[in-house]
């Protein structure tokens, strides 16, 4: 099957450091792909390059056959992007923000109303629909950002820590929604720190460390490679990122306070 997203030899350099270093990956359509990695490992940079929000230094990226740096608008039409920190016009209400996004994306009026109302109900933000976005809690703002990114029924959903700040009910609904998108042949790629989410939702996982993918595959394959068939994703993650034995660090930390 042809990959929905294909990345080859991707480099991204900021001043004197590489955020991404010879990165290769393929994401198939109809799959949920999780990107895991510690802070500063390059997850956000990768997702932004895929979403045509950032230029790469070198290498190639293909999103449904399109190069995001050459066909920015076409790629943005395909993608629904949820940023790590929800960025919206805070002086608008969620309702006004959805209308603006729908107008810019040129979505049919009848479809918009139905989609907005069903998502607003499902994520439980009906009573905040007329408030300033700036006055909402982080979690509610995250829900508004998620709804806005899904309004055009995107072919590819890119979520950068999309589950951050969500209550368990909303997280469960979002997981189900992501699954249903994948079943309809769409591609979901998201980064997360929450190993349980990655383990329960993702078909494939890539572990990113210092700008490189240190391992990728299904959960079973990762377990097989780590040599511990009974281990969970957190243990595999810590082992592959060289943080398996944290005891000396924790010990030294405790000592620094005792002294």
């Amino acid at each position: 099957m042809e990959a929905s997203i294909s990345v080859r030899g991707l480099y991204k350099k900021y001043v004197d450091n590489y955020a991404l270093n010879d990165l290769n990956l393929d994401v198939e359509p109809g799959k949920i792909f999780g990107v895991l990695g510690p802070n500063g490992s390059g997850k956000t940079t990768l997702l932004k390059i895929i979403s045509a929000l950032l230029e790469r230094t070198s290498g190639s990226v293909s999103v449904r056959g399109l190069d995001p740096s050459k066909h920015k608008d076409q790629v943005k039409k395909l993608v629904g992007y949820v940023p790590e920190v929800p960025t919206m016009y805070e002086s608008l209400s969620p309702g006004e923000f959805f209308s603006f996004v729908a107008t810019v994306r040129n979505i049919e009026e009848s479809l918009v109303e139905e989609r907005i109302n069903s998502m607003v109900r499902a994520l439980g933000i009906s009573d905040s629909i007329d408030s300033f976005i700036g006055s909402l809690s982080f979690g509610t703002r995250q829900k508004v950002a998620i709804i806005a990114s899904l309004l055009h029924d995107p072919e590819i959903i890119v979520m950068d820590e999309g589950m951050n700040g969500l209550d368990p009910r909303s997280a469960k609904i979002l997981k189900e929604l992501m699954r249903s998108f994948a079943e309809r042949g769409k591609t979901v790629i998201f980064s997360t720190h929450i190993m349980d989410v990655a383990e329960s939702v993702c078909d494939t996982v890539a572990i990113l460390y210092k700008g490189r993918i240190v391992s990728t595959g299904t959960m079973d394959k990762l377990k097989e490679r780590s040599g511990k068939s009974s281990s969970n994703l957190e243990e595999i993650f810590l082992k592959l990122t060289g943080n398996e034995d944290l005891d000396p660090l924790i010990h030294s930390l405790k000592e620094s306070f005792r002294s």
Binding site: V15, A19, G40, F100, G211
Partner: protein
């Protein structure tokens, strides 16, 4: 015109205001949200009207001496030049600050993931409709007066066209300046070098401006140089052609056609430039302005314990100097007052009060810097104010550290400026040192007074501080008036005492300076005593 472009253009302005007020306690309650929505809608109109009126008043004050003394070609040239340069400078600064706000508040972030090219148009329209176009009021009083006094309606037509042209030029220059000073930002490390880079970039720009302004107002340059340029060069030479095209050239058909040709040529050139630089500035400063966290090799902190005052002053230096927009704000008062001072020196010193005239005109810098810096030094705290209030630091320490940093910047500006102007115009004497000394004393006591006042006005539970945290425009205007009053009291008393003691101010300036120094010093001791007893509740 696409309605979403106009919607976004309006939103970019509304959002800036909302971001500034959203954390103020009075706007966070549910009840006030409806009122706030209404207020935000009115904000654009009120702010535009206030800008227009202030520009028109300032421009009118600038041309008043010429209205009463008659209008030969040389004098008309002066007015034309000064008001148009004033409009250009206003546009440059408002454009630079507008792009700066777009970048720092990430105002195009929400539309970045959307397939929407209209964002670039929206940025340009937003600035022009809600901000930049008000600069036309800086030229209108002169244009209307000359059109009326000469009975030539073409002056009105060309006057407005060239006003718009210079506003567009200001937009272009301002957007480029911002792109230059904001740098790329990606992956830059916080440290001495980044502070230095940012400061050097800003100083280079301000230096260029200072030279530019001094050049324009240099004594004798305008009346001697500009009216002597030959036709048709005088219609096409950038900037110096404005007095000819607008005021002096179009009384004949031949002149009218040449002026129209020059106007069309520049209109096309400036439009292309404005569109191109807007696109570049949006891409560089706004869309690509955010840095990412990336992996770096492990490093350790070298902690060195310093004294509390030194570490507080270093904190001020860092939070102000590492943000280009703060550095620019520190220099804005000087750049704005410069034309007035030079105008006073060139045209207003005929009364013959020697370097006292210079001292009085430099007091305007003192008043503006003291009020403006006090505000900037408070606002630069941003959300850091919550941390500052949570630490065991006395109000006195906060006031002195902020005043000390303000004083440092003010001294760097005022010492060379006052000595150069006095030395250049009147020759040097021992008493010249008293001019900057008095200005520094005046700044010291007024800035301590202002910062104390602002700090006491801020609720202890504040989580953020911005220009609107202190009660809005009316309070800020009142602060300027109060600063002017407290700074002028010692000056007025010294003038009165000098006249009472010696019978003449002009012949005994040193008596005046010594009296003023003593009174300023007494005022400084007074505010130090007041600050020592300040407790924030």
């Amino acid at each position: 015109m696409n309605s979403s472009v106009l919607f976004l253009a309006r939103m970019l302005m509304i959002e800036q205001r909302y971001q500034a007020i959203k954390k103020s306690p009075k706007y966070t309650s549910e009840v006030d949200q409806k009122t706030t929505r209404k207020k935000l809608g009115n904000f654009l109109k009120v702010s535009y009207a206030a800008n227009s009126i202030s520009f028109a008043v300032f421009s009118f004050l600038l041309i008043t001496p010429y209205i009463f003394t008659g209008g030969d070609a040389g004098r008309i040239t002066n007015i034309g030049f000064i008001v148009y340069i004033y409009a250009l400078i206003i546009s440059i600064y408002s454009s630079a600050l507008f792009f700066n706000s777009l970048g720092t508040m990430n105002l195009l972030g929400p539309v970045s993931p959307l397939p929407y090219e209209g964002r670039k148009k929206a940025v340009m329209f937003s600035w022009f409709i809600y901000n930049g176009s008000s600069a036309i009021f800086a030229v209108l009083p002169a244009v209307v007066w000359i059109a009326w006094s000469t009975g030539n309606p073409a002056v009105l037509f060309f006057g407005i066209i060239w006003g718009i042209l210079l506003i567009m030029a200001g937009f272009t220059i301002g957007s480029l300046i911002n792109a230059f000073i904001s740098g790329n930002g990606r992956g830059e490390k916080a440290g001495f070098m980044s502070t230095m880079k940012s400061t050097i970039r800003v100083i280079i720009i301000l230096f260029v401006f200072a030279i530019f302004e001094i050049g324009i107002y240099l004594p004798g340059l305008i009346p001697n140089f500009i009216p002597g340029i030959a036709f048709p060069l005088n219609r096409f030479l950038p900037l110096v052609n404005i007095p000819y095209v607008v005021f002096l050239g179009n009384q004949t058909l031949h002149g009218l056609v040449t002026d129209a040709a020059s106007s069309i040529l520049y209109l096309a050139a400036f439009s292309i430039l404005a569109v191109a630089t807007n696109s570049f500035a949006v891409e560089r400063s706004v869309l690509l302005g955010k840095s990412e966290e990336i992996f770096r090799p492990e490093k350790f902190v070298n902690y060195r314990r310093g004294s509390l005052p030194a570490s507080l002053i270093m904190k001020e230096v860092r939070i102000v100097a590492r943000k280009s927009q703060n550095v620019i704000l520190l220099f804005i008062p000087v750049i704005f007052v410069f034309p007035t001072i030079l105008s006073v020196l060139v045209y207003g010193s005929e009364g013959g009060i020697g370097n006292l005239g210079t001292y009085f005109s430099l007091i305007s810098i003192l008043v503006i810097c003291s009020s403006f810096y006090s505000l900037i030094l408070m606002v630069s705290e941003g959300s850091g104010i919550e941390t500052l209030f949570s630490l065991p630091i006395s109000v006195k320490d906060i006031i002195y550290s902020k005043s000390a940093f303000g004083l440092l910047v003010f001294s760097i500006i005022i010492i060379p400026v006052s000595l150069l102007i006095i030395g250049g115009n009147y020759g040097t004497s021992t008493y010249d040192i008293l001019v900057p000394a008095n200005l520094i004393l005046g700044f010291s006591f007024s800035s301590i007074f202002n910062i104390r006042r602002l700090l006491l006005r801020l609720p202890a539970e504040s989580t953020n501080v911005n220009f609107y945290s202190f009660g809005g425009g009316l309070f800020i205007a009142a602060m300027f008036v109060v600063t002017a009053a407290i700074v002028l009291i010692p000056v007025i008393l010294s003038v009165l005492f000098t006249i009472a003691l010696t019978g003449s101010l002009q012949s005994n300036p040193y008596i005046f300076y010594l009296l003023d120094s003593s009174l300023n010093f007494a005022a400084l001791l007074g505010v130090i005593f007041m600050t020592g007893n300040t407790v924030k509740t």
